[in-house]
Subunit: 191 residues, 2 copies
Amino acid sequence: MEMLRAYFNGFGALSEANMDFLLGHIHEGSLSKKQKLIQANQTVGSIYFVTEGFLHYYTHNDFGNQVTLKIIAPNFCWTIMDSFFHQRPTLDECQALSDVRFHELKKSDFLKIKAKNVILSNFIQNITEQILSAKALEVRKQLSMSAEERYLDILNTNPKIVREVPVSILASLIGTSRETLHRIRRRLSAA
Amino acid sequence: MEMLRAYFNGFGALSEANMDFLLGHIHEGSLSKKQKLIQANQTVGSIYFVTEGFLHYYTHNDFGNQVTLKIIAPNFCWTIMDSFFHQRPTLDECQALSDVRFHELKKSDFLKIKAKNVILSNFIQNITEQILSAKALEVRKQLSMSAEERYLDILNTNPKIVREVPVSILASLIGTSRETLHRIRRRLSAA
DNA sequence: AAAAAACTGTGTCATATGACACACTAACAA
DNA sequence: TTGTTAGTGTGTCATATGACACAGTTTTTT
């Protein structure tokens, strides 16, 4: 729980009472490798915060191929926004790449926290804005960077992902094939 | 102003007083073709809502080539999130592709509206969540769709953009070259 | 009205990429 | 331990793409 407390503190100070109220609505969970957190056609009812292990968020394109949308690493807060906010089923899936430990905030509790008082409501608003800002940067990177640059970006910001995630999944995440990612690596190690 | 009022009504009902307070802080503006709304190294101080014409939001990649990040069409609410929320300069630019009319909400007024009362604060929170949800879908499309699929997607959801925007800019938006977009079009019209 | 600039559509060509195939190693289950 | 499955790294080959070039058109400027 300390990891989550530190995460929240990063968004500003909260009184002990408010922090307790917040943390009091969050529950722990775990998955063993290959278990699915989200199944296709499911409606996502929670926000998740990973503390250990890696989650693989993916979908299938129109040709039936699996496409990686995100690797969720420890210290990352995640949900499928569209499904969570609109309470409609998603076509995507989320699976544990390793044994995973996480915290979970149910939508009903999320609403309770927002309704509790002005401080908490503003706190949530602030987090939402930060996440929105980060998502916009993601779009920007996706459009302006090459596969190689995206690979180097992940290597810089989250080297553990590069070490722990299978090449095929990593390649899909940066929008290229397994073989081309190998070529990129060869090129980089040659230089 | 009616267009903006309709836009807000789409997010839920507001009392006349609250709606007036909201609209009272929004100012009109215009640009003539080729004028820049945002210059590189500028800090973005407002949220914009376009009512007429098209804006071209773009940046430059590491090789100095211009990359289109978004075409902002009428009825669309836009800002550079990172610069606006963190008040730091952006490297991106935003230029009018045609004569443009827009509404503008300054950051200071945005804060005043959030602080006015619970209703307005929740209203803004709601809009933020919707925009976040839309941004996440954008990332998803970018990763899971091919250039051709993205072209068809724009053609379906916003045909005016396809008609009004130069091919080179449109090609850049869907992540391909001007020539390849021509090839896509030839392929589609042949079928 | 004339000149300049911006944009479109298409052809040629080199090349980066994806698809396929295969050997090898690591991880896992019976 | 042994057999099975999952993952890695690399080679070959067809092809979709980007870069370049150019002619024709439209738009803008003077």
